[in-house]
């Protein structure tokens, strides 16, 4: 059940990817979810639908389009080249971009919902106590929605951890750069190395279970305290 050096590397890379992606997603989804939860703008509905597309799209379809976009001749690829960098296809950066897009709805939805469920009177009371909108967001909305935000972060992390299709299309299997756990697992199975596959799979299973446990612990339980 010991992991090889390569598998440890894949595991570390996966955790780094999931961490970076989760951080970026929170930065994007907190303001976006706040806006979606409160706006009466007509564009909000279509925008939400577009952002939720990754939920229903086959990951390989999404990965394919992203690959086209990130290739040296693609729109994003040219943008990166013009900025003095390398095209993001088959790089860690490319994986981050792909994962952010792929996991976005899984974070945005719970963030949006937990902001929408906030008691409006607390926010209005804050406004009447001279708290400006940004002040209200950080001192009332975020702390009150905190359990929901944390749940969203864990879901985003877990989702990035397990993703396969997008990563396969976008990243290939470059050790230390794009070879994440799910790819490594796939490679083991391809090579009929079931022992190695098993020890990786078990670790992922354990990790996923722990994260679900954390999400459940964050859920408000009825009767513990009336908020």
């Amino acid at each position: 059940m010991r992991l090889t050096q390569d598998d440890w590397q894949a595991l570390a890379l996966t955790l780094r990817l999931a961490g970076v992606v989760t951080g970026l997603l929170l930065l994007v989804c907190a303001p976006l979810g706040w806006w979606l939860a409160r706006t009466r703008c007509r564009l909000a509905g279509p925008l939400e639908a577009v952002l939720s597309l990754p939920m229903v799209l086959p990951p390989t379809v999404l990965g394919y389009y992203l690959l086209v976009l990130m290739a040296p001749q693609g729109g994003l690829g040219r943008l990166f080249t013009a900025a003095g960098g390398a095209p993001p296809a088959f790089t860690f950066t490319g994986l981050v971009i792909g994962s952010v897009i792929y996991s976005l709805p899984f974070v945005l939805q719970p963030v949006r919902n937990s902001f929408a469920a906030l008691e409006s009177e607390a926010l209005e009371a804050a406004a009447c106590l001279r708290a400006a909108p940004l002040d209200r967001f950080f001192t009332v909305a975020v702390p009150m929605a905190f359990p929901g935000l944390l749940t969203a972060a864990i879901l985003g992390f877990a989702h990035t951890l397990g993703e396969f299709g997008v990563v396969l299309m976008l990243g290939g299997s470059i050790p230390g750069e794009t070879r994440v756990v799910s790819i490594a697992l796939y490679d083991h199975v391809e090579a009929m190395n079931y022992g190695a596959a098993n020890s990786l799979a078990l670790r992922l299973l354990g990790l996923s279970f722990l994260m679900l446990l954390a999400v459940n612990a964050l859920k408000p339980r009825p009767g513990r305290r009336g908020a």
Partner: protein
């Protein structure tokens, strides 16, 4: 202090028209049935709702007109909501500090946390508070931001009977001494009678001009009380007491009254309420009887008050006292406007006894 406004809000079937330039001091109640737009008016004053075309000015500051819109956090207005709207992630002290820290520099709130019964609750968590405690803290928090006007949107409506009683007497005591003018939205006659100095009645989406609370409660024509609910509200000062009898003497605009009650300090301000149906009329010499309070006055008007009843208005001193009398008695005594009569009522029919128990820290 004044509040000038002109509002015309339409939302589907709902319509609200309100216009006025009100002087603000003491407690002004806005009275009307549920769903008539009272809360909308209050929320527009706070800046929580925005309808185009409204005009609003508090003192010399324009909050809204064609060109201006001041957002709620820059208005000198405090608000107490029906459900307190406390911050559940902060302690009671944290909630109060939230207001203190954002207070306009240089403004003093002058809040007495002890008087509001908040001091024993400071280290509690919001989730552990009862409904009445929440409202007390919401009120203290709103006052700590040192508003120029305090808005209260049905602050008692969400409380159970027990908590309501406690918070109402706290509000009553507070309103007698409050330095900040209060605009109170309510659908309860009882709350108006106990708390308000003036009341503006909302009728079919239109807000009437405010009248004194005695006027609104004594005359059914203001649309606030039906004749059998008419009553007089008398603000008075304790001028003496008779410990052996358990009575206190209270000087009011209608004359001196004797009321049962614990020995209150001379000089204590209090408010008495007497229902028109508890007032009897006497003519000439009064034979021996139990009713203690006899106020000489002049009968100013008689009006129909339903089958077999008349509502009389008797001017006693500076006050007008309504009396609900059977038509039979009116004829028997030959009562006419302009006649000198005596308004009589039992001390026991006067509410309340002028004592204001301090709220206890652990009360509901």
């Amino acid at each position: 202090m004044s509040l000038a406004f002109s509002m015309d809000v339409r939302k589907g079937d709902f319509q609200l028209r309100a216009e006025g330039d009100w002087p603000l001091d003491g407690v002004t109640a806005i009275f009307g049935p549920s769903g008539c737009g009272k809360s909308t008016l209050l929320r527009a004053i706070a800046g929580l709702e925005r309808s185009p075309g409204n005009h609003l000015r508090l003192n010399r500051e324009i909050y809204q007109d064609r060109r201006h819109w001041i957002p709620p956090h820059r208005r000198a207005v405090g608000m107490v909501f029906q459900r307190a709207g406390l911050f559940p992630h902060l302690s009671v002290r944290g909630n109060l500090d939230y207001a203190r820290r954002r207070r306009t520099p240089g403004r003093e709130s002058g809040v007495d946390l002890g008087e509001l019964g908040v001091t024993p609750l400071l280290s509690r968590r919001v989730g552990e508070l009862s409904g009445g405690e929440r409202q007390r803290i919401a009120m203290a928090r709103a006052l700590l931001s040192a508003p120029a006007l305090l808005l209260m949107d049905e602050p008692l409506a969400a409380l159970d009977e027990h908590a309501k009683t406690g918070f109402l007497s706290l509000l009553e005591q507070f309103s007698r001494t409050a330095r900040v003018p209060i605009l109170l939205v309510t659908h309860s006659i009882e709350e108006v009678a106990r708390l308000a100095d003036r009341v503006a009645v909302m009728h079919g989406g239109i807000l009437q001009q405010p009248v004194s609370v005695a006027e609104a409660l004594g005359h059914p024509r203001h649309g606030m009380v039906p004749p059998h609910q008419a009553r007089v509200v008398l603000d008075g000062v304790v001028s003496g007491g008779d410990v052996s009898d358990g009575l206190v003497r209270i000087q009011t605009a209608a004359g001196a009254l004797r009321v049962p009650g614990a020995a209150a300090q001379v000089g204590t301000r209090t408010r008495l309420r007497i229902h028109a149906r508890d007032v009897a009329i006497g003519l000439g010499d009064v034979p021996l009887e139990s009713a203690l309070n006899h106020l000489p006055g002049t009968l100013t008007s008689l009006s129909d008050a339903g089958p077999g009843l008349n509502l009389l208005q008797i001017r006693c001193g500076e006050a007008e006292i309504p009396a609900l009398i059977t038509l039979h008695s009116v004829r028997r005594l030959g009562l006419q406007p302009g006649q000198s009569v005596t308004a009589k009522f039992k001390s026991a029919a006067i509410s309340p006894t002028p004592q204001h128990p301090k709220p206890q820290g652990n009360s509901q």
